[in-house]
Amino acid sequence: MPKKILVVDDSSVIRQVEETVLVKAGYEVASANGGKEAIRKMETATFNLILTDLNMPDIDGVSLIKQVRASAKHRLTPVVMITTESKDSKKQEGKSAGATAWMVKPFTPEQLLSVVKRIIG
């Protein structure tokens, strides 16, 4: 059974890139255009990993991470936050919300895969 990954980003370009890279590597990928859709998708399916942007219009990444950590089903699921801000404060905010790892945009396909692989194999 391939591992299932949920990618969350309001930019369709980023979602497309992530999806292409991860599907090619053999993962099953679902995508959401924001926090709200992500939460809806997590109710109907179970994911092994969640990749989320931090700046999103409806529910931002940090609140999404907090909701994931509070949910019964996904509270121990790894979450990678993807951020354009390399500012430590933002990273710290995500980390204390419960993010497992982080990546700074822009990233190469290799960087994405190495982070995903480190976390879920």
Binding site: L76, T84, V104, P106, I119, I120
Partner: protein, 669 residues
């Protein structure tokens, strides 16, 4: 368009911050060109500028950052040095980027080209020109391909909440495994038994020996996402990876024995349950520790003791001189020596968990010897006690556990018939309370049989047939020498030596032992112990010309004793403390002190073994924290005294051993 403008201004702001940080890093790097942390900081700043520059459409800035970053990649890998040239180049690149952040400034392709060729010139130096840098340090050796192989030792302890953010240690272990030849030892010492296991708590620690061609930074990077959720220590070990204590085969099979040596380590709570180790009070650095011989610590404590005494004299002198300057120095020294004393004593504190694990083995062996099924539960393994107290406590605890297993816990059939769990439980718990540490041994066995104790005591001639004793008093009889309840003498117990030895050992530690027992439910032995042996919190009292110290842990209150009180009690040596009659001992009489009795005496009311006893003294001087001195060989067997202390004025005060003193008085009566 709007979002693009926003992105650009965001980048300008962010890049300016990174450039400022880069500048200060470079200036520091000039002083310490080898500092790997500074090199990484510079690299990260350039890397971020490059990444976000490309995102925001500042391609020229990204290109410059990329050129200089490439130089720092080589420096990070040790192929280049952060020479003054490199630093000058980087500074000018920084200035260039800063100027281009201004929307008014035109990007000059000339400048880009110049920067490119300058970087290339430096990069060309990389492979051969600086051989002394790429040369393998002593701890590295070359493998057959000519690459340097280093032996990296990693001590990795994920925090108990490690899983809570979705982290999994397996990913990191497999990544390390991919880096080279990797030997991982899992330390199970903190793993609780199955019933207590919380599947969402991390209990494991890993000791990893890695032979890799990667550099230390690369190994460290593996942990980047988890570094604040674990204690991590990475060290390049000397050439051949020797068997290190924690990775020895013994620790794999018998983690229980790993912590039994008397060496101390500041981060040495290896056997403490993981859930007690909160990230806030155990930063990653605290994992580093050094081993020091116990004698060195003892002599340090002695010296600090002398210092405290000298300081007390100084304080006394200073207050007599009425010299403000001297007084302020004396106060400073007083504060510092108090701090020094606390820190020194703290070094000697070790978690009692180190002995707990040894008992797991003992109980396991006893259960098979006795043909019973017994499990040992422990609680409070992190409770810290003075090293000496823990060492001297070991034998008494062995006696108590043996007793609980042998006499306390019933055979499986008896337990089944009584409707109990056929598996007996012995619980050891330790906790702090006030100036004392309590250690309890509880069994869920049959409880003490007060009737049998009474019969046995009468039969052995220890008790008069007509004596009327409360249940508690009967229980205490088992501490008498030569008393045994065992129906048959077994290997384990029943020889009638043991409980009296236990009591004496505990008292020698200035501790007390008490029993509670409920028939059919079990028995609890409760040991009250002082935190440390080197220092005593005492009540300083005066009797005649002499001064004495009563351990504060025993003293409850002080009341006056007037001639009227004595008359009222008809000289029965009883005083009325708020309605309760408390017998007292007049120390003046007992020590045959010279001089006149004051008209109003003081009674220090103590509680010893659950009974209140007063000690009548001429006057109470006050609370006194003091360093205990032994009485020396000549006087060490004097009953009723446990040591002496030197007071600030240089005079001597004797420390009373209250339980022993009471026994002497009772025997004399």
């Amino acid at each position: 368009m709007g979002s693009n403008d926003q992105l650009e201004s965001m980048f300008r702001e962010e890049a300016a911050e990174h450039l400022a940080a880069l500048e200060s890093t470079l200036l520091e790097l000039e002083q310490r060109p080898q500092d790997p942390e500074l090199i990484s900081q510079a690299f990260r700043a350039l890397h971020t500028i490059k990444g976000s520059g490309a995102m925001a459409g500042f391609d020229a800035i990204a290109a410059i950052a990329h050129e200089v970053e490439a130089v720092f990649v080589q420096i990070r890998q040790g192929k280049l040095q952060a020479s003054p040239n490199v630093i000058a180049l980087t500074l000018s690149a920084k200035d260039l980027i800063r100027s281009w952040l201004d929307p008014q400034v035109q990007v000059s392709t000339d400048a880009t080209a110049r920067m490119h060729s300058a970087c290339q010139a430096i990069l060309e130096l990389a492979p051969a020109a600086n051989p002394e840098i790429s040369q393998a340090p002593r701890e590295q050796s070359r493998n057959s391909d000519g690459q340097t192989v280093s032996h990296v030792r990693i001590a990795w302890a994920p925090h108990p909440d490690y899983f809570q953010n979705g982290s999994n240690p397996l990913g990191i272990l497999s990544e390390l495994n991919d880096m080279g030849s990797c030997q991982t030892t899992t330390n199970l010492a903190s793993l609780p038994c199955l019933e207590e296991l919380d599947t969402e708590t991390s209990y494991l620690r890993f000791d990893i020996l890695l032979q890799t061609t990667k550099r230390e930074n690369d190994v460290r990077d593996t942990f980047i996402f988890v570094e604040d959720r674990c204690d991590l220590k990475i060290s390049i070990s000397p050439a051949a990876p020797k068997q290190v204590d924690t990775t020895s085969p013994a620790s794999e099979t018998q983690p229980a024995l790993a912590g039994t040596s008397s060496t101390l380590s500041s981060g040495g709570a290896a056997l403490t349950p993981a859930r007690q180790a909160s990230p806030s009070n155990r930063p990653a650095e605290s994992a580093s520790s050094i081993r020091v011989s116990a004698e060195k610590l003892d002599s340090l404590v002695d010296l600090v003791g002398e210092l405290v005494i000298a300081q007390a004299r100084l304080a006394l002198l200073a207050s007599n001189r009425a010299d403000d300057e001297l007084l302020s120095v004396a106060e400073d020294i007083g504060r510092l020596s108090a701090e020094l004393r606390d820190n020194t004593l703290d070094i000697r504190m070790v978690p009692i968990g180190t002995t707990f694990v040894r008992f797991k083995r003992l109980v396991h062996d006893l259960s098979s010897d006795l043909g019973k099924e017994i499990q040992l539960e422990t609680e409070g393994a992190e409770t810290e006690l003075d090293k000496t107290v823990i060492e001297r406590l070991f034998d008494p605890l062995v006696h108590l556990i043996r007793n609980s297993c042998d006499h306390g816990i019933e055979s499986q059939e008896v337990r089944r018939k009584a409707g109990k769990n056929p598996v007996g439980t012995v619980r050891m718990l330790a906790y702090h309370s006030g100036q004392s540490v309590f250690v309890e041994i509880r069994d869920d066995g049959a409880g003490l049989d007060s009737v049998a104790i009474r019969k046995k005591a009468i039969a052995s001639g220890l008790l008069d047939e007509t004596a009327k004793l409360s249940v508690e008093e009967l229980y205490k009889l088992i501490f008498l020498p030569g008393f045994s309840l065992a129906k048959a003498v077994t290997n384990v117990s029943g020889r009638g030596v043991g409980m009296d030895v236990v009591k004496r050992s505990v008292e020698a530690l200035r501790g007390q032992i008490s029993i509670t027992s409920e028939p059919g439910k079990g028995t609890t032995f409760r040991l009250q112990l002082p935190l440390t042996l080197a220092i005593i919190e005492g009540l300083l009292v005066a009797v005649g010309e002499g001064k004495f110290v009563l351990p504060m842990s025993l003293v409850e209150e002080c009341v006056e004793l007037t001639a009227l009180d004595i008359k009222r009690s008809h000289d029965n040596r009883l005083t009325n403390v708020r309605g309760e009659l408390v017998p007292y001992i007049r120390l003046r009489d007992w020590f045959r002190s010279a001089g006149e009795r004051p008209a109003i005496e003081q009674v220090a009311v103590t509680t010893v073994e659950g009974k209140r006893i007063g000690f009548v003294v001429d006057g109470v001087i006050g609370q006194h924290q003091t360093v205990i001195k032994s009485l020396g060989r000549m006087y060490q067997n004097v009953r009723g005294l446990s040591g002496a202390t030197i007071l600030g004025d240089g005079s001597l005060a004797l420390i009373l051993d209250v339980p022993a003193l009471l026994r002497s008085v009772q025997q004399a009566a």
